[in-house]
Symmetry: C2
Subunit: 214 residues, 2 copies
């Protein structure tokens, strides 16, 4: 019985979902941008069926909002909601970082330093999308070590919601500073100082959003 390795070829909707999700999380879509069934169906060369499932799925995750007439668009976050989401990041990410701390070995730290240099590059070259991407990769690489998929899912859920707005933020304000807090995070990881790690993660994730809410 020659069991072939199942390719488990991803379905259309899986592929489209991942691509759109990535676009939203990295800020490739601006707040309030509307997406239509036939629009995404056409741009991905599929029928309406996969397109609608993807849009509804993204809406269920908060990445899109559904207007009262059934249209889909990226959310326009009020200041109150942005404050909430920042608070959630400040609550969840220190926790998952602390859980990753005991498992953070040198291999990981090296990788984080590498990603950090990519962030600095993106700052210099003023590429907001690369900046966001590398920044999220820094955090995700750390959090993956926590072996806490449920927490990570909520964290990424929030990243999804703030994606379009973050893009706007970085375009307006610009990214002037190299990620200083990331260095503190790395230091705390090396020394195994949990409370310091929690504090640095919290300030790092709330810093960027605070400057927008006022």
């Amino acid at each position: 019985m020659a069991e072939e390795a199942k390719i488990n070829e991803p379905s259309f909707q899986d592929r489209i979902y991942r691509e759109l999700r990535q676009k939203i999380m990295l800020g490739d879509l601006t707040p309030g941008q509307s997406l239509t069934l036939r629009g995404v169906a056409e741009s991905y060369e599929v029928s309406m069926t996969p397109a609608r499932e993807v849009l509804r799925r993204l809406a269920a995750e908060g990445a899109l909002i559904v207007t009262n007439t059934g249209r889909f668009m990226t959310p326009i976050l009020s200041n109150d909601r942005l404050e909430e989401l920042a608070a959630l990041r400040g609550l969840l990410e220190p926790e998952i970082a602390a859980r990753a701390l005991p498992r953070a070995h040198l291999t990981l730290i090296d990788r984080l330093q590498l990603i950090n240099s990519r962030i600095s590059q993106a700052v210099i070259q003023k590429e907001p999308i690369s900046y966001v991407q590398a920044n999220l990769e820094f955090h995700r690489s750390l959090y993956l070590r926590a072996q806490a998929p449920a927490i990570l899912a909520l964290v990424e859920n929030i990243w999804l919601q703030i994606g379009p707005t973050m893009r706007n933020l970085y375009e307006k304000v610009g990214v002037n500073e190299t990620p200083v807090h990331h260095l503190s995070i790395l230091a705390a990881l090396k020394s195994g100082n949990e409370s310091e790690l929690r504090l640095m993660v919290r300030t790092d994730v709330t810093k960027g959003l605070r400057m927008l809410t006022r």
Copy 2:
């Protein structure tokens, strides 16, 4: 121009979604129970289209899992995942409760006490579903006052994920005790003691789940 009040009649999928979501959250479905497109379509007397969108939406929210062959079922939570979800409740619910504290007036407290008596009733009459329902209503009534929809959404998201498992817990262990911590929560609300409120909410929400993970 006689603007009629828009009824905004909910679509099929909205109605089905709400009913199924409620069933899952209250533990009306057992862990590992599978749902099929044609099954729910038939039981709600609609075509496959609304049914599939509802199932996918619930899957996106973590209320259902999708097997690697595309089937839908309620999740069977491992101990690790249950611990994570308990930790998330212990992290999020004290925060949102604290935000509700300044706005918790007597009207609300009276309502909470009324709900509390319903909980005691459900305990006496050994009705686990009513118990879960009243218990969640107690928490939700409080959290609604926080005016923090983003946080509340995450909290309810977690309730959804643990719904079927909670039902199993209460059937096995039984609900012996009246909600003692709720009284402490009410006391903290009356006295305006935030740190006490946070502590009591945390212990209340983690207590039930801890007894299952070991």
